[in-house]
Symmetry: C2
Subunit: 216 residues, 2 copies
Amino acid sequence: MNYPPRPVEATPLAHDRVYRHLRSRIMHGDLPPGQSLTLRGIGREYEVSMTPAREAVRRLVAEGALTMSSSGRITTPELSNERIEELAALRALIEVELASRALPRAHMALIDRLQAINGTIAEAVTHRDAVRYIRTNLEFHRTLYLRAQAPAMLAMAETVWLQMGPTMRALYGRLRRTEPPQFHRLIIAALKAGDEPGLRLAVRSDVTQGLRMLAS
Amino acid sequence: MNYPPRPVEATPLAHDRVYRHLRSRIMHGDLPPGQSLTLRGIGREYEVSMTPAREAVRRLVAEGALTMSSSGRITTPELSNERIEELAALRALIEVELASRALPRAHMALIDRLQAINGTIAEAVTHRDAVRYIRTNLEFHRTLYLRAQAPAMLAMAETVWLQMGPTMRALYGRLRRTEPPQFHRLIIAALKAGDEPGLRLAVRSDVTQGLRMLAS
DNA sequence: TGAAAGCAGCTGTGATCACAAAAGGGCATG
DNA sequence: CATGCCCTTTTGTGATCACAGCTGCTTTCA
């Protein structure tokens, strides 16, 4: 479990560096579903031997970010619709709780930052940049949830994001959209008003909207 | 992420065998919080080299079942009270949802099995057997949640159990109790009656009761 | 033209080793 | 008697290697 906010960690350890970089790429949709990876390939890319590559992969497999076939082949996961629905339900459960816990601590400075991030998301949308869209969208959520002061819950939410990463890329790539996320504005409005039921509904709507895309 | 129900898996792979056995010991409270482990020690115990031991440990660390210090020393986690509260809240969130999804599929055969398991729990309580108590208690919950047909959610719940394993042992070991869990009977009653609100309340009460022990 | 057989390359697994850093214990000193 | 220092042992890390199994392509035969 990765408990963010991580300490400063002056660890130039090879396996950790590989792990972090791969994790970021997967979470943000850099890799499509079903993409295959090899230990030697990863080692070559990061200029390390197989050992740290193996440890990084093992860790990512444990978090559901990568899949290993019975013969040990490594690929990014291809999620079934049932699995996607389940992960979205988990997002709704956990993130609604995180938002609710963040609400009493959300001051104006946080709301300003959220609005700024929302602006960046709008840019990504107009540029049809899926990776940047996913990255800034998650940054929006993470920024809010960090205020909840619940690292174990945030870690769980991030694990779900990680599992959905490659699929999100495929989904958003297929999407024709020109407007920034409407529910983010509802989230910000509810935060300003201190409206907890409204916040819960807005977060739930936002994290499950991908499902509607999928169904259509 | 470990998606139970696992396939038959005829994998005698060393690292997997070590992982599974260690995982079971940790989840069921075989190890106290703060217990230190070494790769060479694990390798000796399971008659393997350091490599599979390292992979198993890496996987368990990723799931929060073990902690690594900055220098790489391996111990079972010692949870702060805030972390325990958070994990209990996660259990409540996820397990209430799992129970709710299992309710429409819970037939009499399942309820009979749950009652049988409850009998075993009562035995463990009278014998003051903490490990057996934890094991059968989790078996009760897992048996119910398997009916929810939501492997990703169940995996999340198990990850939380895993993180709480050593602490649960310490808590229940400190507990003076002679009666079987009252909330399990409420869960069974709600299942029989098809009473969803009652089931949600009973599950929430059951998974957060450890907190009241902690506070007292 | 088609499928099946065989082969060469590649992939993950696990063992072993060298190495640096940390831990623990024993000793000497204040 | 307590405290700080040093040395020995133990620890995790990463590289390398042998090996078995799988993949995928080429070749061959019907």
